[in-house]
């Protein structure tokens, strides 16, 4: 895939600490397409400010797809608030590296389908080996 073949859609990755920047850097290292994602950290922000930052960036860039780290996290709560008044928003919680890579290379035309397939891929990437 060349950069011209990249899907036009982009997504925001929001979460705790350096998780968003870290996982996006991993996407960049593996695929070269880290720029598909806009990382936003909740560090040092109130719930209100997290929501404000996500709203501002998504409006500015026309982004409707969001990945967050923790279902109970403040970024997830913020996106759910945005979903209340913004049609077409898609949220995937518990995102991991496999999730984001699948989204990057998705051939789905619909953003919701791409997000769902990415979530399925992320779930299947969590496996346990060894142990008693």
């Amino acid at each position: 895939m060349t950069s011209s073949a990249l899907p036009a859609r982009r997504a925001i990755v929001a979460g705790h600490g350096s998780f968003p920047q870290g996982i996006v850097s991993a996407v960049e290292q593996i695929s070269g397409y880290g720029s598909v994602f806009v990382p936003l950290s909740n560090s040092g922000l109130s719930g209100e400010d997290i929501e404000g930052q996500i709203r501002d960036r998504s409006a500015e860039l026309g982004i409707k797809v969001f990945f967050t780290d923790l279902p109970a996290g403040s970024a997830t709560i913020a996106v759910r608030r945005i979903m209340r008044d913004t049609p077409g928003v898609v949220l995937v919680t518990g995102a991991n590296l496999a999730t984001l890579l699948e989204f990057v290379f998705s051939t789905d035309e619909d953003a919701g389908d791409a997000a769902r397939h990415a979530a399925d891929k992320g779930k299947s990437a969590v496996t346990v080996h060894g142990g008693s």
Binding site: D49, I50, L70, A72
Partner: protein, 167 residues
């Protein structure tokens, strides 16, 4: 069983509360005391989605929480009472009395507040209410997560230098 933690946190339900404190304290009940959320079904649904199925989340306005506090304290499950601001915790404790310890977990920047710690910003009114609690015999400490050092609020209110901000 007495309430494990009385926490002030402007994010209310989020990772630090549900996972950071919830797991080590084996929390199975969270009582969110908030007048606005208590009368808004949509807000309640939003926060319910943020807690795992084994954890019950109840909502109460301050008056109800004062009345129901003996019920919370007798609940056999480990529990947290959670408010988003100092004024609500102050009002709750004024009605309840006999609460030994309050945890300030996160009060972030907003106009009118000054930074005291990395995760604690306070307005003059909030400082006054915290001093009231301390004067009433409540131990007030700032601590975002269990692994962090609990910082006595007397220390927070008395120090405004870089050392305190890095805590």
């Amino acid at each position: 069983m007495p309430v494990e933690l009385y926490r002030i946190d402007d994010r209310l339900i989020h990772g630090q509360v549900v996972v950071g404190w919830g797991q080590p304290l084996d929390i199975k009940l969270i009582v969110m005391v908030d007048d606005e959320v208590a009368c808004c079904d949509w807000e309640q649904d939003l926060y319910r989605m943020g807690v795992p199925p084994e954890m019950e989340l109840r909502f109460a306005d301050v008056a109800t929480a004062v009345q129901q506090h003996p019920v919370y304290a007798k609940d056999p499950r480990h529990s947290i009472v959670l408010t988003s601001n100092v004024a609500t915790m102050h009002a709750l404790l004024k009605g309840v009395g006999n609460v030994g310890h309050v945890n300030v977990g996160g009060l972030h920047h907003r106009p009118g507040r000054a930074q005291k710690l990395r995760y604690v910003f306070l307005s003059p009114d909030e400082e006054r209410e915290l001093r009231d609690l301390i004067a009433a015999g409540v131990k007030v400490t700032a601590q975002d997560v269990p692994a962090a050092r609990p910082v006595p609020m007397e220390e927070v209110l008395g120090v405004s230098g870089d050392a305190a901000k890095s805590a």
